[in-house]
Subunit: 455 residues, 2 copies
């Protein structure tokens, strides 16, 4: 960034702008990326006007701008690889309107989904997309995050009604509608959802809220193999039980949780099924049917939890998976795949991936939002063990090749960021030119989060 540019930012933003080394470092890395690329400055935006003015100065002075919210994305999305300004929107965290009768809330982009849920619950409502980390709604919209609730309620994409977006040309546009459905003109909203801050900066979102289900229960059971558990998940989906969540963890991860938590879970592939109903009896019947399906597919050790406290206890191992693995291999770097395939191919591709990792002598743990056909393989190795990382990337490449051959996608939820650009080219080679043309329309100088998504 040129000194005049920095001076102009300082003149406009005063103490909202930081060049403190610790702040720059914190905005220059994420968990997924080995090296730090600090920005030249960090702006803590407080309003849409701040965002518009920052983009205006970027246009005028030609420096890159990378939006930053919570920084929980996993593909290097927030790393300002070309320096410039990190535009931190986490302080834009006001809930602007909550309309219980309209099942919707309008928020600034830095509001996190746990915060939105704290505000919605007293109205008997909730925001169902739950990616795990304390992500912001603007960040979730920008990666189209999903997680455990998507099997019943869809992804962030499905739950965003309207956006306000600040563009590089200085304008702020409104896309979508606060109405639950619209057929008015070209749908521009979905261009900005999943765009990882490369097309515009989201300054406001109106999202759907859902009524909290009346009666909820969780079932947990373990299986002789991961494929058997995945097959069970496919059958549950076929039974029209419409589960709230449907999650799988393999033996390896259960073992990691046992060691990390001092727990004694069966170290076997484990499936969680959360069911809900407006009626207690209805829920009981659904649980009965679900238990039968689990037992028929070889599930054992079935446990059921109904109270909120018991449900939380039953889910606990699942919540600790990611960090337990980290604790077990301190100092290792990790990589989490997020392939998603049509549901009928899920058991097959899990088997394929396990066999491949085994052949290559890799340590690979499986966890999945299996009702969607979406599963994560967690690889890890010491950062400097180049040979192992080469094998990991080789296996990952072949897994993606298989997923694409089955009609699936290289990214079910994490996005492309820095790391998956080559995979995007394999998946959507025929539309890269169109994606580039749209990028050029909205950001002709290529200043918005450069180096992301497009290879």
């Amino acid at each position: 960034m040129k000194p005049e540019a920095l001076a102009a930012l300082q003149a406009r933003f005063a103490e909202q702008l930081s060049t403190a080394p610790a702040i720059l470092q914190a905005h220059g890395r994420d968990e997924s990326h080995p090296t730090v690329h600090p920005p030249h400055a960090v702006l803590f935006a407080r309003s849409e006007t701040d965002v518009v003015d920052a983009l205006g100065l970027a246009s005028a002075h030609g420096f890159p701008v990378t939006p930053f919210a919570v920084g929980s994305s996993l593909e290097g999305q927030v790393i300002p690889v070309q320096g410039g300004l990190s535009l931190d929107v986490s302080s834009m965290n006001a809930v602007l309107a909550l309309e219980p009768g309209g099942f919707q809330a309008t928020v600034q982009p830095g509001v996190t989904y746990p915060e939105l849920n704290r505000r919605s619950r007293p109205h008997g409502l909730f925001f169902p997309v739950d990616p795990g980390a304390e992500a912001s709604l603007g960040g979730m919209a920008s990666t189209n995050a999903s997680g455990t609730g998507a099997v019943r309620y869809g992804t962030t994409r499905d739950n965003v009604l309207e956006l306000r977006v600040a563009l590089m040309d200085g304008s702020v546009i409104r896309v979508g509608s606060k109405a639950r459905k619209t057929s008015a003109g070209y749908d521009l909203k979905h261009l900005f959802i999943g765009a990882e801050g490369t097309l515009g900066v989201i300054t406001e979102l109106t999202v759907k809220l859902w009524p909290l289900p009346g009666h909820v229960a969780v079932l947990r059971g373990h299986f002789p193999g991961v494929e058997a558990a995945a097959t069970c998940a496919v059958q549950v989906m076929g039974a029209a039980l419409s589960p709230e969540r449907l999650e799988l963890m393999d033996a390896e991860l259960m073992r990691a949780v046992n060691r990390h938590e001092g727990a004694a879970y069966p170290e076997a592939p484990t499936l969680w099924i959360e069911l809900a109903s407006s009626s207690a009896v209805g829920l009981g019947e659904a649980l009965g049917l679900c238990s039968e399906i689990m037992a028929d597919s070889g599930g054992g050790g079935l446990e059921v939890a109904r109270s909120a406290a018991d449900r939380a206890a039953l889910w606990e191992a699942r919540h600790h998976a990611y960090y337990a693995l980290g604790a077990l291999y301190p100092g290792h770097d990790r990589l989490s795949t997020d392939i998603c395939v049509p549901l009928q191919h899920l058991p097959g591709i899990i088997g394929f991936s396990r066999a491949l990792a085994g052949q290559e002598g890799l340590h690979a743990s499986f966890v999945g939002h299996v009702g969607d056909g979406n599963f994560h393989v967690l690889f890890h190795a010491p950062p400097d063990d180049g040979a192992t990382w080469a094998r990991i990337h080789g296996v990952y490449d072949r897994m993606i090749g298989e997923a694409l051959a089955l009609g699936g996608t290289c990214s079910g939820e994490h996005g492309i960021g820095l790391h998956k650009r080559a995979h995007l080219a394999r998946e959507h080679g025929d539309t890269l030119a169109l994606m580039r043309a749209i990028k050029a329309l909205l950001d002709p100088s290529g200043l918005l989060n450069p180096g992301k998504i497009l290879p």
Copy 2:
């Protein structure tokens, strides 16, 4: 169309091309438009290659191309206002794959949703978007149709996983994924959904199928006023009952049905609520809760139907609304609005619209997918009664002004077509330039369905 162009089309397509006057006429009108604009020729495409070649000839010779499927759209979308070729895809009607385990089907664009349902039902599955007319899946995707099932299952947009689209540059692209969710790059799929054939021609769709619900029942009751019925609908939505359908008809339409069918329904605003559950007892409980809500909001004459035959009988009046009104006023032209507002504003805008129509002495009937905040006002008048039509359009304009002020949209499901372009400009004036730029990227010569959507 120049003679060389027609000759080139004839050379390539032989008997698939028609210039028979009756065929031209049938492709030059729809129910919504007073005058006929026949195309110069109609091509009955049988394959993606046919579509690609037709677009190639259009590019080479500079003639317009308007895709045509069933022709059930209501805003003049299929009318070739600039002549040229009507590209009829209704013969591209093969179900290419039905994957029960993946809850999806891949179809050619001319497959109708009733046909897809006939094919899916033996597998215990169905396609839930139901706009009423025997529309094609390509046409429904192109208008983002919805109808009665949207309150539970979303619109066509929400149920399309992947598209193949033939573009004006001669290429065929694949957008979206057969996986249930993807975060891989810019979402181009949603640009083509709702684009009314102005950006490309859909040659293949993969859509979601859903498990048929186990136990279904329908409740019908009548209310002292339309606003009371709408308020009841809002309360049902708030009770987390997740209805399959939630439909409203006003007294005027009930009267029309009585006359048309020789029936004796109470001539009062009537609400239908369809509920489903995986359990019979659960359904019973939900019905109980729902009846209470209806009674509390002033609903009377509650009837419940459980068997398929009884349900069909209970729904009958709703199915005949549109045609009953037509039969009652033979020779009248009709106009159906499709405004959609955030749910909390539905009773208010219905009241506003009724009052306005009353002040202007207009005959206006109300019918609505009220769980979505979407309602139709059916106006009618003799085609040559210019004064009445001017008052109708005046009222319609003010209704849309009110809807936009409430955060709603001028089109919940019918699209923009020819007739609502000025309304689109009011709703999305700030993004028209971007819409035009995207149109220019994909169709630089403006040959694809010219005159539609963009004002």
